[in-house]
Point group: C3
Chain length 379, copies 3
C-alpha cells in the first residue's frame, strides 16, 4: 500500500529483476525470498511435512508481501493521483485477499473468517499500537490528522455493525437461507459505501485528508513496467504459497500446540500485514504518524469494507458453497472492541508511547485468550 522501507536509491534500477535485486540489497528481510523455492521443492518432495511446510510458507509470504506492496505503490504512483489512490486502496491488501481466496477454494470458511477478523483486529490494535509505541519512544508527543483517523474509524465502525447484525440475528434464529441472502445484500452495501468513501476522500473532500508532514520525498518508485511485472509475478507466487500454507495449517497448528483460532486470527494476520507494519512503524519513527495511522486504520477499513464483501461475492463462484458474513460472537466482540479502541485512541489527534502500550495490551488480551482457548471451542 505504501513504501516498504526508508532509504535512498541513487541509481534507478532498469529491469524488474534489477529492481528486485536492488530492493533485496537494501532490505535484509527480503532475503527471506530465498525460502520461496524451498517451499515449492519441499511440497513436491514431502507433502506430509505439514509443520515444516507451514513454517516455511509463513517465512515465504513475508518478503512476497513486501514486494507486492512496493509494486502496487509503483503502479499507483505512475497512473495519476486519482487512479493511483484507487489502485492503492483496492490492491493494498492483496496478500490478505489471495490467502483468503486460497482458503475459500479449500472450503475452509472458518479460516477465511478468522483471517478477516484477525486482520481487522491486528491492523487496528497491533499496527496502530506498535506505531504509537515505536514513535512515542523516540518522540515525546506526536500529532496526526484527526479527520482522517476519524473517517477510517467511522468506516470500521460501520463495517463492524454490518458484520454484527447477521451474527446477532443468526444467534436468535438459525436460518441459513436468511443468513445467506442478508450477507449478499450487506456485501453489496459495504462495497458501495466503500466506493463512495473513496469518492469522498480522494475527490470531493480530499483537502481534509491532506497530511501535515508529507513534505520530505521518499525514494523513487519503480518504473511502471517493472511494477506491473513484479505485481503479476509476485501475486501468482503468493497464490501458490498460500495454497501450501492453507493445506498445511490445520495439522501444523495441532503439532505446534496452537488453536486454529489463534492461527487464523494472529499468525495469518501478522504474516499478511508484515509489509504494511514495517511501513507504519518506520513512518512513526520518522515522526510521520499521519502516514502510520492512515496505513493501519485504512488497511483495517479496507479489509472490512472491501476484502470481506468481495470474498462473500466470490464465494458464489469459488469453493463448495456460498460464504456468509456471519462470524462467531467472540470474533464480533473483538472487532467491536478494536474499533472502539481505535476510536478512543485516534480521537484526540495526539499520541504518546502509553497509547501504544494500551492498544498492544488489548491485542495481547485477545492473543492470550485465543492461545489458551480449548481446541474444542467454536473458533
Amino acid at each position: 500500500m505504501h513504501n516498504f522501507e526508508e532509504g535512498s536509491a541513487a541509481v534507478p534500477p532498469r529491469s524488474a529483476f534489477g529492481a528486485v535485486i536492488a530492493e533485496l540489497r537494501r532490505t535484509p528481510l527480503l532475503a527471506l525470498i530465498a525460502v520461496v523455492p524451498v517451499v515449492f521443492l519441499l511440497e513436491r518432495v514431502s507433502p506430509e511435512a505439514h509443520t515444516l511446510l507451514f513454517v516455511l510458507s509463513v517465512a515465504a509470504i513475508v518478503p512476497l508481501a513486501a514486494l507486492l506492496s512496493r509494486a502496487t505503490e509503483a503502479v499507483a504512483a505512475k497512473t495519476g493521483d486519482a487512479v493511483g489512490g484507487l489502485l492503492n486502496a483496492t490492491l493494498g491488501n492483496l496478500t490478505e485477499l489471495v490467502i483468503a481466496l486460497a482458503a475459500l477454494q479449500a472450503g475452509q470458511y472458518l479460516l477465511v473468517k478468522a483471517s478477516i477478523a484477525g486482520a481487522i483486529v491486528t491492523n487496528t490494535l497491533f499496527m496502530l499500537g506498535g506505531a504509537f509505541l515505536v514513535g512515542g519512544l523516540k518522540h515525546h508527543l506526536q500529532e496526526f490528522n484527526r479527520v482522517n483517523a476519524r473517517f477510517q474509524a467511522s468506516l470500521l465502525f460501520l463495517a463492524t455493525i454490518a458484520i454484527l447484525v447477521p451474527s446477532l440475528i443468526s444467534e436468535v434464529d438459525r436460518a441459513p437461507a436468511f443468513s445467506q441472502q442478508l450477507s449478499l445484500g450487506l456485501a453489496i452495501l459495504l462495497i458501495t459505501v466503500y466506493a463512495l468513501g473513496m469518492l469522498f476522500s480522494l475527490r470531493t473532500h480530499r483537502e481534509l485528508f491532506a497530511s501535515s508532514s508529507h513534505a520530505e520525498e521518499e525514494e523513487k518508485p519503480w518504473p511502471l513496467p517493472v511494477g506491473t511485472v513484479v505485481l503479476i509475478v509476485v501475486t501468482l507466487l503468493v497464490a501458490m504459497v498460500s495454497e501450501i500454507f492453507v493445506g498445511s495449517v490445520q495439522v501444523a497448528a495441532q503439532h505446534l500446540g496452537m488453536t486454529p483460532a489463534f492461527v487464523g486470527f494472529i499468525v495469518v494476520a501478522l504474516v499478511g500485514g508484515a509489509a504494511e507494519m514495517t511501513s507504519a512503524f518506520s513512518a512513526a519513527r520518522a515522526n510521520r504518524l499521519d502516514l502510520s495511522v492512515s496505513i493501519a486504520l485504512g488497511s483495517a477499513a479496507q479489509i472490512a469494507l472491501f476484502v470481506a464483501p468481495v470474498l462473500v461475492l466470490v464465494s458464489y463462484f469459488v469453493g463448495p458453497e456460498p460464504m456468509s458474513l456471519q462470524f462467531w460472537p467472540g470474533a464480533v466482540a473483538m472487532m467491536l472492541v478494536a474499533t472502539m479502541a481505535a476510536t478512543l485512541l485516534s480521537n484526540g489527534g495526539r499520541a504518546a508511547w502509553y497509547a501504544g502500550v494500551m492498544a498492544l495490551a488489548v491485542y495481547a488480551i485477545f492473543g492470550l485468550t485465543l492461545f489458551l482457548l480449548p481446541p474444542g471451542a467454536p473458533s
Copy 2:
C-alpha cells in the same frame, strides 16, 4: 415540533379552516389530507380490505402529522418561551404517541415496542443521516452546535441503558413480576431525568443551546385559537386513523410480504416522523444544520425519555395488562448502535455528505435485516 416547511405567508390566515387551506396551498404533500375521509369511508364499507386500509391510513397520517407539528409550534410560539419550549418538547412526538396508544389499547405490545425502538433508530440514523446528506450535497462543509448534539446524544445513551438493563436481566432470569416492577421504576426515573433536562436546556443553561444561525425569521405562526383548534381536531383524527392502521397492519403486512418487525420498526417510524423529516431536511438544505440536528436527536431523545415511559405508565390504565420496558435483544442492539453512531457523527460539530451516507448505510443494514427476517423469528 418545528416549522414544517419554508416559505412566506404574506397574509396571515384568519380562521382555523383558512389556516389549513393556506397551508395546503403551500405544501403539496398536504393534499394527501383528502385521503382521511376516504379511509373512514372504506373502513365502514369494507372493513376486511386490510391491505388497502393499511396503505390509505399510512397515506392519511403523513399530512395529519404535518398539521399537528405546525399546530404544536403555533401554540408553543404564543405561550411564551419557557412554556412554549415545554409544549414543543412534550407534544413534538404526539403522532407517535397517539399511534402507540392505539396499539397499546389493542394489546399489540410488540407493535408498540417496535414503533418506539424504530422511531429512535429512524430519527437517529435516517433523519440525521438524511439531513447530513441533503445538506452536504449543497454545502461543502456544515457546522453545528456540538453542545446541543452531545446533550441529546447523552440523553439517548441514558435512555438506551435504561431499556438495556431490564432486557438483559430478563434474558437471564424470566420473572415477569420483577420485570414489571423494574419497568415502572425506570419509567418514573426517565421522566424525571427528562423533566430535569428541560429545566437545564430551557432554563439554567439555555445559553449553551443557542443556535448559531437562527437569525432569519420563519413564516408567521398561526394565531393561538387556530393552533389550539387544529391541535385538538387533528389529534382526534390521528387517533381515529391510527386505530384503523393498527387494526389492519398485521394482515396487510403478511399480504405485502413484510415482516411485522419491519412494519413496526421502519414503516410506522417513517410515517410518524414524516413531518419532522421534511423540516429537518429543508433546514439542512438552508444550511441550518443546527436545527436539523436538534430536530432529529431531540425527537429521538424525547421518544426514549418521554414517550416510552409514558406508555408504560398509561398501560396500567389502558389495554389488557401493564407493558414492560423489556425489548427483544435485536431491538436493544439496534438502539445502542444508533446511539453510538449519533455520538460519533455529532461529536465533531461538522458534517459533510459522506457522514450522511454512513448513517443511512447503517439504517439500510437494519432495514435489510428486518425485511429479510424470517416471520417466525421473535420480532
Copy 3:
C-alpha cells in the same frame, strides 16, 4: 488517597494519638470511630446478631477508611513526589482491598467480585456524577483537565475489556482450567500495564497531568511517623472489622430484604469509598473539579487494574481455591456502560449540574435493578 476534608490546622499535632484527636475534632463523621470497639464487643458477646453486626461494621468502616486515606496521604507527602505518587496509587484503595481480602479468605468469591465491579461502577457513576452535581449546583460551568480524564477512562476501558473477554468466552465454553489460566495471565498483564501507566503519568509525561487549579495549599499533612503508625494500626482495624462484616453480610442482607448482589455492588462500594467521596465532593464544591475527576476515575482505574488482579494473584495463597477474573454478564455490562458513560462525560473537559444528574440516573438504574433482582438470580 487525598485529603479527607478542608480546614486549617493551626498547630501541627505531635503524636499519632494527638493527630487522630485533632482530626476527630474537625470532622464530625470521624466520631463514628467510637463504633469500632462496640463492634468488637458485640461480636464477642452475641456473634449471632448478624443484622446489628452488619450495620455496626458498616458504620465502623467509614471513619476508619477516612483515617486510612489521610494516613496514606501523609506518608506519601513525606516520601518525595515519585514514591508518594506510587504510594497514593497503590494504597488509595486499601479499604476496598482489605474488605475483599476478608471475603476472599472466607471463600465468598461472589462477594469479592460484586465488590470489585461495584466499586468500579460506584466510583465512575456515583462519585463522578455526585461531584458534577454538587459542583454544578454552586458553579455554573466547571472546567477540568481532559488529558487526565481521558487517560483514566482509557485505562478503565482496557481493564473492562480484560474482564469482558474471559466472561464472554466462558459463556461459550465452560472450561474452568482455561478460565483460571487466562485469569492469571490477564492479572499479570493488567498489573504491568498499570505500572507502565504510573511511569507515564508520574514520570515521562507528568506535565500533561498537571492540574490547572492546585495552587491553594491544603492543611498540613501529618508527620511521617504519625502517618506510618496510623496507617498500620488502622489497616489492622479495618481488616478485623471487615472479617466481622463479611461474616454477617449474608444473613443480614436477607433480614434487611436486600439481594446479595445489591449488598456487594452498592453497599460495600459506598462504604469502602466513603472517604474518597467526601474528598471528591468537597473538591467539586471548591471548584477544583480536576481533583474530583482524578479521585473518581483514578480510583476506579486502580481497582480495575491493580486491586482486582492482585486479588486474583493472592487467591492462589489465600482462600479455598484460586479465583478467576470471570464475572457474571450483568456485572460486565454494568462496568462497560459505566466506562462508556465516564468517557462520554469526561470527553469535553467541561461539566454542569445536569451531567451529574445523568451519571447518577444511570447509577440509580443499576441500583434499582440489583435491588429488585429476584434472590434466586445469579449475582
